[in-house]
């Protein structure tokens, strides 16, 4: 089977499973909106203040939602033995894992990207800032899925896995948070955004190359 076909097959399977059990998706999606909303309610109705903290709130909520989504990434496949089969097949595990991560991003990351402009409107962003917010999340959320997959693979089957994955991975999310919010904040005050977005692209390429390797290595150790 060619590598592209493997990727398509795995992504398709993950999306079918997600459609069968929409509650997992909805939890992450609603958590993202609720978390942003809680901050907005907590700081009160001052529109200027809301505009200033909006970027940080939306980005931090995206980070937390991404961590919350990790729980079922590998554990479902581990329970029914599919993960073991993935390790046994002759096709490279890194490619299969990359496909798993892509599928995970499509069902958990992409909805966050799509809903983010609406949240931006609630915080009073300009049209340009809304576009930059969505595009920075479009570049940033795949990095979150890639790094998060490493955390999920490291903590697979460990007691308190999600909390532990959060402790391990949230510090590594910080560069994404920094450059993503810098880009959107730059759009809000009307300065150049492309340099921050370029750095996000660089991080994405870096994670795209390394994360599947670390995921595969961790899973091999976990299912040894």
């Amino acid at each position: 089977m060619s590598l592209t076909l493997i990727v398509f097959a795995v992504v398709k399977r993950d999306m079918q499973q997600a459609v069968k059990r929409p509650s997992d998706l909805l939890t992450v999606f609603c958590f993202f909106i609720l978390s942003s909303g809680l901050f907005a309610i907590g700081i009160g109705p001052d529109p200027e203040l809301q505009k200033n903290i909006g970027v940080g709130v939306i980005w931090a909520s995206a980070l937390l939602a991404s961590i919350l989504a990790l729980g079922e990434l590998f554990s479902g496949d581990e329970r029914d033995g599919v993960l073991e089969q993935m390790l046994l097949v002759p096709e490279p595990l890194t490619v299969i894992m990359l496909a798993k991560i892509i599928g995970h991003w499509v069902v958990t990351g992409l909805p966050i990207v799509l809903v983010s402009p609406f949240l931006g409107i609630f915080f009073g962003f300009s049209t340009n800032a809304l576009l930059v917010l969505a595009s920075s999340l479009l570049l940033g959320t795949p990095i979150l899925s890639l790094l998060g997959a490493v955390g999920a693979a490291l903590t697979l089957g460990v007691r308190g896995a999600t909390a532990l994955a959060a402790l391990l991975i949230l510090p590594l999310y910080i560069p994404v948070l920094v450059f993503g919010s810098l880009a959107t904040n730059a759009a809000l005050i009307g300065t150049e955004v492309s340099s921050h977005l370029s750095l996000l692209v660089a991080l994405l390429i870096f994670a795209l190359v390394l994360a599947p390797l670390f995921v595969s290595a961790s899973l091999k150790v976990a299912l040894d």
Partner: protein, 253 residues
């Protein structure tokens, strides 16, 4: 005429990769390392507080450098050693390498806390703030969380083989943070000052200040060696408690 026979004894590094060989060495090294740490610390503090001149810009407060800089160096260096031993363990499959890495981690975390704490104490009088979220301080804080994550991950997996390997992989992933900490003051314009000491140029400080820093750094080195070997002994005692060599070594029946 006598024939001179030269015998080449191959140096066997693997000899030192077993707990059995290292355990007695560690037992001998621990008291020596702690003794040197105390002597060097006393000498370093004497030079730092009574010999080194007052800084013309920062006054007396700069003297916290004699604790801040060595602990910050050690916090990064210990992580590099952990990465080294993790790699060794993953490549050569040596149990002792993982034990070494795990024995170093708590000392690394302590050094990171000391560096952050003394940095805050230094920041208040010189910058007017305990903390800023600049690149150097943030990346050092990330290092602390990496240490804590490494320790917690290792502790929460019961199977020793998996625990060793999984935490080693985490150590490798976190290694990306070390160059970020080190170069952060060059890459971004930060409130944290740049380095005054480099390997390639003469130190930009008075000779007695440099001497004080060297003594304190050596003291921290000695402490790290002592503490790591102390912890290594405990790890070996725990893991090898049923082995015959340990019983023979302790002279128990």
């Amino acid at each position: 005429m006598k024939k001179i026979v030269t015998e080449v004894i191959p140096l066997n590094f693997w000899k030192y990769s077993t707990p059995k060989t290292v355990f007695p060495i560690a037992s001998k090294v621990i008291p020596m390392a702690f003794l040197f740490a105390v002597i060097l610390c006393v000498a370093g503090i004497y030079v730092g507080f009574f010999v080194a001149p007052t800084d013309f810009q920062q006054g007396e407060v700069y003297r916290i450098i004699f604790i801040h800089v060595p602990s910050a160096w050690m916090s990064m260096f210990i992580y590099i050693i952990i990465v080294f031993w993790s790699l060794m363990g993953l490549i050569f499959n040596t149990r002792l390498s993982f034990m070494m890495a795990q024995s170093l981690a708590p000392t690394g975390a302590v050094m990171t806390v000391i560096a952050l704490w003394t940095g805050a104490l230094w920041g208040k009088p010189t910058w007017g703030t305990w903390w800023v979220w600049d690149a150097r301080l943030t990346s050092e804080l990330i290092l602390l969380f990496l240490y804590i994550g490494y320790i917690v991950l290792g502790a929460s997996i019961d199977d020793i083989r998996r625990s060793d390997r999984t935490s080693a992989i985490l150590a490798l992933i976190g290694a990306v943070n070390i160059p970020i900490i080190y170069f952060s003051v060059e890459w971004w314009s930060t409130l944290h000052q740049g380095a005054s000491i480099s390997l390639t140029a003469a130190p930009k400080m008075a000779a007695s200040m440099f001497l004080g820093l060297c003594l304190m750094s050596l003291s921290f080195w000695m402490y790290t060696i002592g503490a790591a070997f102390y912890r290594l002994r405990i790890v070996i005692l725990k893991r090898e408690k049923s082995s015959t060599w340990l019983r023979e070594f302790e002279g128990a029946p």
